[in-house]
Each structure stands twice: as C-alpha cells, then as structure tokens.
C-alpha cells in the first residue's frame, strides 16, 4: 500500500454555480505539491468535467450532494474521487465513448470522459442505476517537492 500523506473532503450541492468553486478548491489543495501550470490546468479541467457530469446527468432533475475527496500519496501521486448518489449510468462503456452524449440540444460535446482520460493518468468509473456514480482520477505530478 502506498503511504497516504494528506487528504481533503468536500461536500457540495449539485448547483452549477458550484462548478467553479469545486475545481478551484480541489486544485488549491494540491498546490502544496508545487505542480506546474499545465498540471494545475489539467487537474482543474478533469475535475470540472466530473463535477459537471454529476450536476447535469447524475442529478438531472434534482439537487443532491456531490462528495469530493482529494488525496496525496508518496511520490507525488494524487487521487481525486468525485461521487454522486444520482441516477447512475446505464452503460458505462457507451458513456466513455468520445462524442457520445445524451444531450439533444447539440450544446454538449460528449467529451467529458475523454478530457478526464487524456488530462489525467488514470480514470476509473463505477456506477449503478439509481444509486449513483463514482469517478476516480489519479495522476503522478512531476513536482520534485516532497511534503512531510
């Protein structure tokens, strides 16, 4: 098991006005690792996609809680869990396909998971219908700074 060095937990209601707060707050937590500007932008974007999915899809017709957890492990490995107790994803493989979207207005690109996949090292998605969805993002930062 890798050593856990630090962690943070956030609970926010699924209002779109919280998207900015969620991605900024979680990225600030990782500032202690002195990430590069590119890493900051990558983390911020991936978190924004996951939180937006919970708001737009998970809690489609309701407001529910989104549980966000950030962890720092040794060797600058970061882990971010974004969990909702919303409607769940019927077919995860289909949802992971680039350009797949359930949005009919043409205003959503269907690239949320593609962004998470390409901007982070690893993406894992767990979902069950009517119970919710959990997205786990992880990445190894290039930072040489080690925290105690």
């Amino acid at each position: 098991m890798k050593n856990l060095l630090n962690e943070v937990k956030l609970i926010i209601p699924s209002r779109s006005s919280n998207e900015s707060f969620a991605r900024t707050a979680i990225t600030c937590f990782f500032a202690q690792l002195d990430p590069t500007l590119e890493e900051v932008a990558d983390i911020k974007t991936a978190v924004s996609e996951a939180v937006t999915n919970s708001i737009v899809h998970g809690y489609k017709n309701e407001i529910g809680n989104i549980y966000i957890q950030g962890k720092i492990f040794e060797n600058n490995e970061i882990y971010i869990k974004i969990k909702d107790k919303g409607c769940g994803i019927p077919d995860i493989n289909q949802a992971l396909e680039p350009l797949f979207t359930t949005c009919t207005t043409g205003e959503r690109a269907g690239l949320g998971f593609a962004v998470m996949q390409s901007f982070m090292d690893r993406l894992r998605v767990f979902s069950s219908l009517d119970k919710g969805t959990t997205v786990i993002l992880s990445k190894k930062l290039s930072s040489k700074k080690n925290i105690d």
């Binding site: 779109s16 006005s17 932008a41 043409g106 205003e107 959503r108 690239l111 962004v115 390409s118 901007f119």
Partner: protein, 103 residues
C-alpha cells in the same frame, strides 16, 4: 466575467471574459446567438484572450456557434487560444475544421 460583442463590417467579434464551463456557457451562448440572429454576420470571431479557464463546455459552445453560422452561410474563426485552451480544443479536432489565429 462575461462577454463583449463588437460589430465591424460584416464581422461579429465576441470577446469572452473569465471561465467557460457548463454554468457560464449558457449566458455566453445566448448573448452570441441573439447578435447572430439580429446582425446576420458573414463571420463570427471568438476571441479567447481573456478566458482564464475552459472545459469541454467550450467545445460545445464553439461547435454550436459553428452550426448556427453555417446555417446562415457564414464562417467562424477562433482567436488568441492559450496552450490550455488549444489542448482542450484539439481533443475535439476543432483545429482541423476551424480557422485559428493568434493576431
């Protein structure tokens, strides 16, 4: 946060300011669409110089406006993309279908 729109010749130039995410994209999109409808420009220029953050909602915003401009036989151009914004746009292959400049 917001958007400033200028009309020069037959061009509509939209200077987007702040973050583009699912929350802010709605307002930006509505304001640009009103101007496209009223002004019927031959070209829409989206300027990203003052955009501090963009997720895939920005791709939806650009693709949606690309379609509305196409429906009036107009074009679209993207201007001043930061390296982060280019990286997001590239995921959708946008640089292959749209003109991007840095002037």
């Amino acid at each position: 946060m917001g958007i400033k729109i200028e009309k020069i010749d037959k061009n509509l130039i939209a200077y987007i300011d702040g973050d583009i995410d699912h929350h802010s994209a709605k307002d930006i999109r509505e304001q640009i669409d009103i101007e496209i409808k009223n002004y019927l420009p031959s070209k829409l220029i989206l300027d990203f110089k003052n955009v501090s953050f963009m997720d895939s909602s920005g791709i939806g915003l650009v693709m949606g406006r690309y379609k509305s401009m196409k429906s009036i036989d107009g074009g679209i151009q993207l201007k001043n993309l930061s390296s982060h914004i280019s990286k997001v746009m590239k995921l959708a292959g946008i640089e292959k279908i749209l003109k991007i400049t840095n002037i």
